[in-house]
Amino acid sequence: MDVPLSWYLVVAAALFCIGLYGALSRRNAIAVLMGVELMLNAVNVNLIAFWRQIEVARLGLSGQVFAMIVITVAAAEAAVGLALAISVFRNRRSVAVEDVDTMKL
């Protein structure tokens, strides 16, 4: 007996919401990025669960390919985001998101 699809979906939803809370509530820009990484991971769990339980029977690949593209984009996002955090820290001696307000009216 396999694990039901809905279990995976509920775990992924919990992971996504924890990541969302982290991205909304943290002051540190790097911690916000970590929350975004958690959300991307939750999406990947969903993609792979749907792929295994619906698409494999139709000999499809798109779930796995999609998850790989998401991992690639997450890696690019982490590299650029952390470079931004280091650049902001160099200019302002802080990575707290409320200190980066140059573009605020």
Binding site: L15, L61, V80
Partner: protein, 167 residues
Amino acid sequence: MEITVQHVVFIILSAVALVGAIGVVALRNLFRAALALVLSFVGVAGLYVLLEAELLAMVQILVYVGAISILIIFAIMLTRNLMDPEYKAANEQWLGGLLAAAALFGILVFILLQVSWPVQVTDMPPGAIEALGQGLVSPNFYLLPFEVASVLLLVALVGAVIIAREL
């Protein structure tokens, strides 16, 4: 419904992933939060193994546990003025964020448990990883996204170097 080994393994792996995720958002020390993030990534990789996506599990370990967490830990090391005990980890909108996340979770679970998905569990066909490898470089399937992803990685590499460069 009887409980099998797969269910027990699923519950353990999900607990690892969720405890790690809660650690990421709840630990005040950013370095410990990054280590909790590694724990969460490992739990998710275990879920991939349980879903018989072995290649994805390996990629998850290599890219997330190997590369992204090292990058995050480096960034924490390079920007630390955050280790002092006076520093507040959460901003003043944390309660609103918590309510929004909890409401979203409630809505998602409510909807997910109502939909009947066209689930059709079969055994993995033989040669699934070969098919994935062929599909990624075949012009009839996913060659274009594959190449666009490599261009994206190149752009991100150059962009990260230029942004983080000492001016």
